[in-house]
């Protein structure tokens, strides 16, 4: 088996008195599509956000390939270019057009020339089917379109891992599918993905591994279909019975 892209070791996170992550050990290997499910407040998003150090673990260590993110000497900005993340609230820059949103980091971080950055931005917009919206500001796009631009923006950095933080939770029901379709295609193309989601259908169809979290711990890890079809663990069974 190939060496893991991401590795977490004994990760704890406290927010004040609140013990949100309670000793997480986890590896993500190349081409893995890892779905993370669990009740709200179980620490799924916090776990995802420690993977690119948006949340600094209170305790424990995080590696990307051979680089330890939790080492203060690590250039976190460089590592983050390999870890794309997409947020629940899209977080597009509202003062920039769709293509400018993508070009900004290509220019300022990767130092691509103007033409190359523009070409790559258009290529990624095409990838998510929004080439024709290149010059629109986010305020003029639907939620689903904004989220697809956000995915294109992350992909344009050519990351090795994509992190998805409940990316369809803020969308109107009829806009969810277009985003899931993009993610599904990405998974089929072999992208390594960690997907925190409430979309059980997506977790079942697109993921090849699944985590069930509860109260800051990984309760179960395994094959998504098996976990959905034969939920043996009582806490998982309780969770699924409440949402399905």
């Amino acid at each position: 088996m190939s060496p893991p892209l991401l590795r977490l070791e004994g990760v704890h996170k406290w927010f004040g008195e609140n013990h949100v992550l309670r000793g997480i050990d986890l590896e993500v290997v190349p081409q893995e599509v890892l779905a993370v499910i669990g009740p709200s407040g179980s620490g799924k998003s916090t776990l995802l956000r420690t993977m690119n150090l948006l949340e600094e673990p209170t305790e424990g260590r995080v590696w990307f390939e051979d680089t330890e993110l939790t080492d203060v000497r690590t250039d976190i900005n460089e590592v983050r270019t390999h870890l794309g993340i997409v947020f629940q609230a899209f977080n597009l820059f509202p003062h920039k057009t769709a293509s400018q949103n993508i070009i900004l980091a290509l220019d300022k971080v990767l130092g691509l020339g103007e033409r190359e950055a523009r070409e790559r931005a258009m290529q990624e917009l095409r990838h998510v089917g929004l080439e024709h919206k290149a010059d629109e500001h986010p305020g003029r796009l639907s939620g689903g379109q904004q989220q697809r631009v956000a995915i294109a923006r992350a992909l344009a950095m050519r990351p090795k891992v994509m992190l998805f933080d409940e990316v369809t939770s803020a969308l109107d029901p009829e806009l969810i599918q277009e985003v899931l379709d993009v993610m599904k295609r990405l998974a089929d193309e072999g992208m390594t993905m960690v997907v925190v989601t409430h979309e059980m259908g997506f977790a079942r169809e697109a993921a090849n591994k699944m985590l069930f979290m509860d109260e800051g711990e990984i309760v179960l890890k395994g094959d998504p279909r098996a976990m959905f079809d034969r939920p043996e663990h009582p806490r998982l069974r309780q969770f699924l019975s409440r949402i399905l």
Binding site: N52, L54, N77, E78, R80, T81, L83, G84, I85, F87, A89, N91, L92, F93, P94, H95, L104, A105, K108, V109, L110, H137, G139, R140, A150, R153, A154, M157
Partner: protein, 370 residues
């Protein structure tokens, strides 16, 4: 739209003769109130202005003329009728529209009555001759047009330099205050609190006298053909330092009002903190702080009058110092009236502009278009 029209026409059909008469009386009330107020303002103004403003006795004659008396009495009557008609019947009005007309007519009537009564009282009991002589004596201003234009220019230069320098300094201070490191925050906080906590007039005095007397520094600046001496230049510097302190608080609030996700998105793309600030956060924050910064500018324009305490050369006088100079040599307060006109000519359009920008920002148009 269609639904509303439909309902209105139904109402019209359903209206009885009594209701129609009430609706008509509401409109008449509105017209009476409006006419009363217009008459007392425009009528009095015209009677006075058409006689001429110079010499001041003309103005007094205008005020005391029988035309003015009739105008004021007519306004009183119109206003009173509107008040009685509007307040007496608004509760019985059949439509919302006619009720609003009745109320508006009554309120305009109150304004007309109050204004007309004050003017009548002033005319009959007061001393118009003495008042007009001191406050509206245009004769004294003759020949001062040039110096007042120069004074307005000096006021504007001072305010503009203070505002632009203050914006640059304020942005810098905001960055320091927003640092996660206490050692960086502390000196910036100290600076800001000092300048917000001491009177501007104290800052002006101490900086000027401290610089020129204490340190022997006498800065001078020439902006093209315009030359400014130590007092004026010291004031420029103090207005920059002071505005910087206030602007930094405006910027800090503006930057903190940008959703946390924006910084997270920028940092996740590999941008450094300064890059994220420069390209993602500050451009958004800047748009949000335009109205409060413009308000600061209006305040600054008025605060420049405090340089009256410094020893300015005549060519450096601002509007207020110029007015005080005129008063000091003639003991006539019309110069202060002229200064007020000068300040308002600048501040009123600015205040309008602030409101327009705020409205545009509230409607969300700015985030979409620019």
């Amino acid at each position: 739209m269609i639904v509303t029209e439909g309902r209105t026409s139904q109402e019209n059909i359903a209206q009885t003769g009594a209701e129609r008469r009430l609706s008509a009386s509401a409109l008449i009330t509105l017209l009476l109130g409006a006419a009363g107020l217009a008459l007392v303002i425009v009528g009095t103004f015209l009677v006075i202005v058409l006689r001429g403003l110079v010499p001041y006795e003309r103005v007094v004659e205008g005020l005391l003329s029988s035309e003015t008396l009739w105008i004021l009495i007519t306004s009183l009557v119109l206003g009173t009728v509107a008040i009685i008609g509007g307040f007496g019947r608004y509760g019985r009005m059949p439509t919302k529209r006619s009720r609003e007309q009745a109320i508006a007519g009554a309120v305009l009537g109150i304004q007309a009555v109050v204004l007309a009564a004050v003017l009548l009282l002033f005319r009959e009991v007061g001393d118009p001759d003495r008042f007009v002589f001191h406050f509206f004596n245009i004769e004294f201003l003759q020949g001062s047009g040039g110096v007042f234009v120069r004074a307005a220019r000096n006021t504007l230069i001072l305010a503009l330099v203070g505002e632009l320098g203050g914006i640059v300094l304020g942005l810098l201070l905001a960055m320091l205050v927003l640092s996660k490191r206490a050692v960086v925050r502390a000196p910036a906080r100290l600076y800001i609190n000092f300048f917000r906590g001491t009177p501007l007039i104290w800052q002006l005095s101490v900086f000027y006298f401290g610089l020129s007397l204490g340190l022997g520094i006498r800065p001078e600046i020439a902006l093209g053909p315009i030359e400014f001496g130590p007092a004026y230049v010291s004031a420029m510097i103090v207005f920059i330092l002071n505005t910087g302190a206030y602007a930094s608080e405006v910027f800090r609030a503006g930057i903190q009002s940008i959703e946390r996700g924006q910084m997270e998105a920028a940092r996740s793309l590999g941008m450094t903190y300064p890059q994220a600030m420069r390209h993602a956060i500050v451009p958004q924050a800047f748009r949000r702080v335009i109205p409060p910064l413009m308000n600061e500018f209006v305040i600054l324009i008025k605060d420049t009058s405090l340089i009256v305490v410094l020893g300015l050369a005549a060519s450096e006088f601002d509007l207020f110092t110029q007015a005080r100079e005129g008063y000091a040599t003639t003991f006539n307060a019309t110069f202060f009236t002229a200064a007020a006109v000068g300040y308002l000519a600048v501040t009123l359009p600015l205040i309008r502009a602030v409101n327009a920008v705020e409205k545009r920002l509230r409607s969300g148009l700015v985030t979409v278009t620019s």
